[in-house]
Subunit: 216 residues, 2 copies
């Protein structure tokens, strides 16, 4: 196996390091965050750092640099408190990646990428019409990560929209039925398919699949 240590990582060329370090932690979630500014400009941007934070209360988090390409997203969230999280699917990976281009603040990525705004149940922020799983979120707090000057933004999940066909009777959403993708590194879009789903693991018992009835 190839071995790379800290001193070599520090000395790497910047893009090489970005590619390696962004891919070495495994697959990342693939979502579009959409917001609307105080003055009414909609904004949509791809994020790969959205992470489940807890179920009760229902919370998610994401990491951002206040001054990078996502600054419009961050500023709109701070100004209005509301944003939406919209899954990226196989059919829209090019449009989703296009939202990472640095357009001026007054230009909406919705107009440039072919993604469509959708307003649901009087929520302030737009949803992405093409997304088959979408969340309406409210800003709760942020934590400054002093080790690299990033922010962890923490939010409440207030609305969930999805096609009923992808939900199993126990609440679980089967994401490959929605064609949701995952991100490999900064710029790789991958389509997962379910291998198996397992029951709660108990000591000294074989792991049991949801699908192989003979084992249950």
């Amino acid at each position: 196996m190839k071995h790379i240590e800290a001193s070599e990582i520090e000395k790497m060329e910047k893009i090489f390091r970005l590619n390696l370090i962004n891919s070495c932690t495994g697959y990342k979630s693939a979502n579009l965050i959409a917001t609307k500014s105080k003055s009414g400009n909609p904004n949509v941007a791809v994020f790969s750092s959205i992470t489940h934070m807890g179920s009760d209360p229902a919370m998610l988090g994401f990491v951002t640099r206040p001054l990078n390409v996502s600054r419009n997203t961050y500023q709109n969230i701070r100004d209005t408190s509301y944003f939406t999280v919209n899954h990226i699917h196989e059919k829209m990976i090019e449009q989703a990646h296009h939202t990472a281009a640095k357009y001026d603040e007054e230009i909406s990525e919705f107009h440039k990428t072919g993604l469509n705004e959708e307003y649901l149940d009087d929520f302030h922020a737009p949803y992405v019409k093409q997304s088959e799983v979408k969340l309406g979120c409210k800003y709760l707090n942020e934590y400054h990560i002093k080790e690299n000057d990033t922010l962890l933004v923490v939010a409440a999940i207030e609305h969930i929209y999805f096609d009923e066909g992808i939900q199993m009777p126990d609440g679980w959403l089967r994401l490959d039925d929605a064609g949701t993708v995952a991100i490999n590194g900064l710029d790789g879009y991958s389509l997962p398919s379910l291998l198996d789903r397992f029951h709660y693991a108990r000591p000294n018992q074989e792991v049991r699949s949801f699908f192989s009835k003979e084992k249950n």
Copy 2:
């Protein structure tokens, strides 16, 4: 589309809510965190919250509850500062899921699950021999998320091991060449395959694939 709002989420049966909220944010990374206690007991546990935090310096983070099944992992990290992050691959999803069972502290999941310890370059914590991408990490800090009493643990990536065949010339690790999986919800293991990889997005330009040379 099915619409669920905050008041309904709060009233849901606990397991139903866990399944829904854990799956609605998209795919999660699939890793095993391995540690060794002060007294020398190794420990390994599945984590789906490991997230890229930054490339320079190379950092990752994960979310944990100090008092849940992962408490041995957390305590060992606090006591020794070191842990490893090991990708979960298609061939080992049953063993990986088995590590979530609540074994007593003195019982190593390595002995119960068929996963093997491996010690590399005098690093304190064990790696998982079966993993094809593994990271040696050092605890840097933690942030208490007061909204739900969880901790975000932040760590430096000090060692990276991988099979050279999965790395592209620009540093990127092609994870489907390693058979790395992603997690859907709490207990679904999915195998992604790469759809496409795109060049840096620029305003008013078509998104360009790494693979379709005629477009470049």
